[in-house]
């Protein structure tokens, strides 16, 4: 440690730290614009100039390394003179449009100008004008306000992994812009808005919505991906106006994915459910809660009486809160049905009953950033887990080797050390080859559960490369993504991946499908012995369905089957925040509050329980899901529905003891097996980032992004030629139904596969996510 003195105050800092870091340690503010703790040092704004004794010139605190016995003066005449000079330069070409600027009130330039600017400008020449740029549906530009701090540029290069913004031209003509005719399409793009210290980049959806000082800030937790990003929801007049990151170094750091940030718009979608409704003679009628609940009690009672409790099935969204999931499963179990599931997109349930605990990430989220090696198996990493991808990107920048075994060669914007890209039916074999290579390289024996899979496997160079990369350093992880979890042979993939992790001395875990996947498992939102899983409930249609926050046609592995099952049911009880197509198949709609209007908890991928309160009151007659379920339990005469608060529900759901002790990725007695070769074209289906849950589907700005574009049928050129189809032609794809989509050449898709996104209206009719498709020219 080095001791330096800042304004007479002694501070000890590590060698290699900067004066800025030292100052922050003792809470001393040095004005700055370009400096940001998560970005590289640019030292270009010059606002943080300070005096250091024995140095002839004022030096930038952000870029000056500390030296023993350094004496720094942040407020000396020399320092202040320099700071004032820089402030004046920054302001001469900055428009004086604060009254109409969205950044007004939360503008670093404005704030610092109060302290360091003059009362009147000495600049009397013409001011610079810069034309605005079109950066897409999320970021609004007022480029004349730009002070060229380059934070947005560095963010792209260093955090998002793609340099979508750059500074073109020179000197006063320098302008931040995207590449000619390109927009900013990164799934992390919104962070550039936060980083911009002025009003050059502002939020398009929020634009002119409110002044910052009118907004009340309330903490919350993102209901989307399995990260559980901490949110600061900003509210005016009981309405969510925007969402910003709430800094949490252990989870989202200071970032948010665009989905976390902009999905709030969906809260006020046109089909938001605000009144209980009952369908009567094919017509929907708004009713009061009493009527609606009586109807539900009667219907469930009738069906149970007539067809038995087994005729009732419950499909629960893993984006629901722990409390809702707990009460929902308790209610259905109270009715004596075991048909409960929240693993809606999964296809392989053969591991049920053999798990030794609740599947989770296998290591803390923050540890992803400091890994030395990671193997990601079967994942749309960047779109499914934008901020986990960001952490792995940082790990790679620090020297980690990242590799993958995957069914598509998506650009993760992370330089990969090795990869195996294989068709879905070859994934298990590819993992087996990596496992065999590892056994070869480490001289260890493969466990019995994998021996059959490894027997006779050919170990190629690619597999050896993956194995070697995974052995880099000391901190290693094997991570299973959504593609692997939703794979028809998911349990084998898991057994093989876990064995790879064991031989490599790596941690093993799941990236997690949804905000509360871990929580749902803890809450028992899946069938125990004798119950039907999500697929079985659709395969063997039930008489009545209870839906919690689910749009089954989008959220289930087979939307067509889901829809058919619901349409034939005698009763569908829809608990949700939106109507959607429930209007067609449900007979009662119960409005429950979305995450902003209820208290509740999510358990994220790393097994962290995060509880939150409502940030606004429920819209209309909507009620928190846990309250509704609790009352419904009472009305059904079920025991154990006396909870007075969501905290009480949570306590009951989690029981005694440490949540962490439940987390375990073990599988008992599952044998890995290889898939039989596919006969036809295999479908590879991702869930597009902005179609993954009902809220994101309804966010208008997100729906205008490139990520929400209509899916195309992406096919390897060899396969496409074999089909006699040219790139860009419309093709007819047939699964359980038929759709027409544009075919696109994609060398990142294995031969013999068709990549068609699921959960999108345009591809819905295709049916199962994992299936063989036929493709022909339309």
């Amino acid at each position: 440690m080095l001791e330096i003195e800042i304004d007479g105050q002694k501070v000890e800092v590590a060698p290699g730290s900067t004066v800025m870091q030292a100052a922050q340690r003792i809470g001393k503010h040095i004005p700055h614009f370009c400096y940001h703790k998560k970005l590289s040092i640019a030292a270009n704004c010059r606002m943080c100039l300070v005096e250091v004794e024995k140095m002839p010139k004022a030096v930038p605190a952000c870029a000056t390394p500390v030296a023993a016995d350094m004496k720094v003066h942040t407020g000396s005449e020399k320092a202040v003179k320099a700071q004032r000079a820089v402030m004046e330069f920054l302001l001469i070409n900055h428009p004086l449009d604060c009254p109409i600027c969205d950044q007004g009130g939360e503008c670093q330039l404005q704030d610092i100008a109060v302290g360091y600017g003059g009362g009147e400008s000495r600049y009397r020449e013409e001011k610079r004008v810069v034309f605005n740029k079109k950066l897409g549906p999320l970021i609004n530009t007022d480029m004349t306000r730009c002070i060229h701090c380059s934070r947005c540029v560095r963010f792209g290069q260093e955090i998002a992994g793609v340099m979508e913004l750059g500074i073109a031209h020179r000197g006063e003509h320098a302008e931040v812009m995207a590449f000619v005719d390109r927009s900013v399409d990164s799934e992390l793009s919104g962070n550039a808005i936060d980083l911009c210290p002025v009003g050059a980049l502002t939020s398009k959806p929020f634009r002119f919505g409110a002044r910052t000082w009118e907004l009340v800030r309330r903490p919350s937790v993102s209901p989307h991906d399995s990260l559980g990003a901490n949110l600061q929801v900003q509210v005016k007049h009981d309405r969510v106006m925007r969402v910003l990151p709430l800094e949490n170094e252990a989870i989202n750091e200071c970032w948010l994915s665009d989905k976390d940030r902009f999905s709030y718009e969906g809260l006020y979608a046109a089909d938001r459910l605000t009144r209980p409704q009952i369908k009567h003679d094919g017509e929907w009628h708004e009713v009061d809660w009493q009527t609606a609940l009586d109807y539900v009690v009667r219907t469930l009672g009738d069906i149970r009486k007539e067809y038995g409790a087994d005729a009732i099935g419950a499909l629960l969204s893993p984006h629901s809160t722990l409390e809702e999931l707990h009460l929902a499963q308790k209610l259905v179990r109270g009715l004596r049905s075991e048909n409960i599931d929240s693993r809606l997109r999964q296809n392989d349930f053969s591991a049920d009953g053999r798990r030794t605990g609740t599947p989770w990430l296998g290591l803390p989220l923050a540890a992803l950033s400091t890994l030395d090696a990671a193997l990601v198996v079967g994942s749309f990493l960047r779109k499914d887990h934008p901020l986990m991808a960001q952490r792995l990107r940082q790990a790679q920048r620090a020297g980690a080797k990242i590799c993958r075994v995957n069914a598509v060669a998506d650009d993760w914007l992370i330089p990969l050390s090795a990869e195996v890209i294989a068709a879905p039916d070859r994934l298990a074999a590819s993992l087996a080859a990596v496992l065999a290579a590892l056994a070869e390289q480490t001289g260890q024996a493969v466990a019995a559960s994998c021996q059959a899979a490894v027997a006779g496997i050919t170990v190629d160079e690619a597999a050896r490369g993956v194995a070697a990369a995974l052995l880099n350093g000391e901190r290693r992880a094997v991570l299973l993504g959504n593609l692997a979890v939703q794979h028809p042979n998911a349990s084998s993939l898991q057994v093989l991946a876990a064995e790879i992790a064991r031989l490599a001395g790596a941690s093993f875990g799941f990236l997690g499908e949804a905000a509360n996947t871990v929580g749902a498992a803890l809450a028992g939102a899946q069938p125990s012995k004798g119950g039907r899983n999500a697929a079985a409930m659709l395969r063997e249609p039930r008489k009545a369905y209870v839906l919690l926050g689910v749009e089954p046609e989008f959220d289930c592995a087979d939307g067509v089957a889901a829809r058919a099952a619901l349409m034939q049911a005698a009763s569908v009880i829809h608990l949700g925040s939106f109507v959607g197509s429930a209007a067609e198949y449900a007979d009662v709609l119960l409005p429950i509050a979305p995450f902003t209007e209820t208290s509740g908890s999510f358990v994220n991928a790393e097994g962290r329980l995060q509880s939150f309160s409502a940030v606004v009151p429920p819209l209309g007659d909507a009620r928190p899901g846990w309250k509704l379920l609790r009352v419904l339990g009472n009305l059904l005469g079920l025991p154990g529905f006396e909870q007075e608060s969501s905290e009480a529900v949570r306590a009951e759901a989690l029981g005694e003891g440490d949540l962490a002790t439940c987390l375990d990725n073990g599988l008992d007695g599952v044998q890995a097996r290889l898939d039989a070769p596919a006969q036809g074209l295999q479908r590879i289906a991702e869930v597009p980032i902005h179609f993954a849950d009902p809220l994101a589907r309804r966010a208008p700005a997100l729906q205008k992004t490139q990520d929400a574009a209509v899916p195309q049928a992406r096919i390897h050129p060899e396969t496409l030629t074999g089909l006699g189809v040219a790139d860009g032609e419309v093709v007819r794809l047939r699964g359980s139904g038929e759709v027409k989509l544009v075919a696109r050449v994609d060398v990142g898709v294995p031969v013999g596969c068709v990549r068609v996104a699921a959960a999108h209206p345009a591809s819905l009719a295709l049916g199962p996510m994992s299936a063989e498709l036929s493709v022909e020219r339309a």
Binding site: A43, R46, L49, N93, R128, R170, G171, E172
Partner: protein, 438 residues
């Protein structure tokens, strides 16, 4: 007194750039001796230190000292880079060195590579002198064919590659770290220092960057010995220096003279003042050096210390001579325009300040000056100085402060009378296209 040519000696004819011609001028003797006798790198550095060779690019930093900064224990690749991005208005010496004596630069760079243990060198050549770049490439081919470059140079175990690279004419790429960024294929923007190139240079590896003339001087020093070279000049100002004399003189051009030569003699070598007019002002070291009055210059000798003592700098040795037909306001407006256009825009004081200075100067020159402008100009320039990432900010500010210091009256006259102190007819006379008589 006359010129004392080393680098520019015996370059008559159109084949002076060829390897054979250079060899006849004792070229590559120094390198051959070093390689054959395995002369210790420290001895070479010691010779350069004795010679008191100071960087010819503008800053005048002692070359031997700079070479000694390269980490010896570093095991990865190290680089040597030649800065031929000669962009300072008034400077045109490196162009002639590369055009007529490129092998001197090549030899100097190979010796540098040998001395500092570099694997490769790059010569970054200004983008607007493309034919010079092509000639340098041709010279490199000759050197490679002769076994002077590449693997096992002259049969020794010393290997060194040398490449030419041409820029696209941005002034700021002459700033050494801007040059490195540009060489790496990025936007030419100076880096914040520290770290200095000696520890984090090209591609993040230890790198030494010297000016073309500096490298070209090295073989001569090693042949004649440090002491002899030093004695050509003055103490602390060793050797000869090429001055690019331009402006209102009869024979503008490059003149290689011993450091310490009186300015008056240099002016004489350049044929004296055009039309016998009165010498008004001189910018002694390139456009960024503060202007000095003619009277003062006639008293000075041309060396680093004397010019610095007089309040300016020897810089790159670009001597811009202005006679009495020059309007100093117009001259400064033109200079300010240059810096305004050439600022890279990275850091605030330079990006914003150069525009401010130029706009004020344009207003002043066009008769729209205000009384408070002079103090404001000086203050804005002062506010830029010492607060930027690289020296371009200072380079833009120093001329403003120099012109204001020495010619404030002329500026005041402009503001008061809304026209030049020097009558326009006289200005036109002075800027008539001039055809050299010899």
């Amino acid at each position: 007194m006359s010129e004392h040519k080393l680098i520019l000696a015996d370059l008559d004819g159109d084949r002076s750039w060829r390897l054979a011609d250079y060899a006849q001028r004792r070229g590559y003797e120094a390198l051959k001796k070093i390689v054959a006798e395995k002369i210790a790198p420290d001895d070479i550095i010691a010779t350069l230190k004795t010679a008191n060779l100071r960087g010819r690019g503008g800053a005048g930093f002692p070359t031997g000292l700079k070479w000694s900064f390269m980490p010896k224990a570093y095991t990865g690749p190290k680089y040597v880079v030649c800065n031929s991005d000669e962009g300072e208005p008034g400077t045109f010496k490196d162009r002639d060195i590369l055009r007529y004596n490129p092998h001197a630069v090549i030899e100097g760079m190979i010796i540098a590579g040998y001395t500092m243990g570099c694997v490769a060198g790059y010569n970054y050549i200004h983008g607007e002198i493309f034919e010079v770049y092509e000639r340098f490439e041709a010279a490199l081919d000759e050197a490679r064919a002769a076994g002077l470059l590449g693997r096992n140079i002259l049969g020794s175990d010393f290997s060194f590659e040398l490449f030419a690279h041409h820029g696209y004419g941005a002034y700021v790429c002459g700033e050494e770290t801007g040059l490195l960024e540009s060489l790496e294929g990025k936007k030419g923007q100076p880096r914040f220092k520290p770290p200095f190139p000696a520890s984090f240079g090209l591609y993040g590896k230890p790198t030494t960057i010297n000016n073309t003339e500096t490298f070209a001087s090295v073989p001569f020093i090693l042949r004649m010995g440090g002491e002899t070279f030093l004695n050509l000049g003055k103490p602390n100002n060793g050797g000869t220096k090429i001055f690019s004399v331009s402006g209102h003189v009869n024979r503008p051009g490059n003149y290689e003279v011993q450091l310490g030569t009186p300015f008056a003699e240099l002016l004489e070598m350049a044929g004296g003042m055009r039309g016998g007019r009165r010498l008004k002002a001189v910018i002694p070291g390139g456009s960024s050096a503060p202007v000095l009055s003619g009277e003062l210059m006639m008293e000075l000798t041309m060396d680093y210390d004397a010019i610095a003592k007089a309040g300016s700098m020897l810089g790159s040795g670009a001597v811009i001579v202005m006679d009495e037909t020059t309007c100093m306001v117009k001259a400064l407006e033109r200079l300010s325009y240059f810096y305004f256009e050439e600022s890279c825009g990275q850091c605030t004081p330079c990006r914003e300040g150069t525009g401010w200075l130029y706009r004020m100067m344009r207003r002043l020159e066009h008769g729209e000056g205000r009384a408070e402008d002079l103090d404001l100009l000086d203050n804005v320039a002062e506010n830029i100085m010492g607060r930027t990432i690289c020296a371009l900010g200072d380079a833009a500010a120093m001329p403003v402060r120099g012109f204001l210091k020495h010619y404030r009256d002329e500026f005041a006259y402009h503001i008061e009378h809304k026209r030049c102190l020097v009558p326009v007819e006289l200005q036109r006379e002075g800027s008539r296209i001039y055809v050299r008589q010899d």
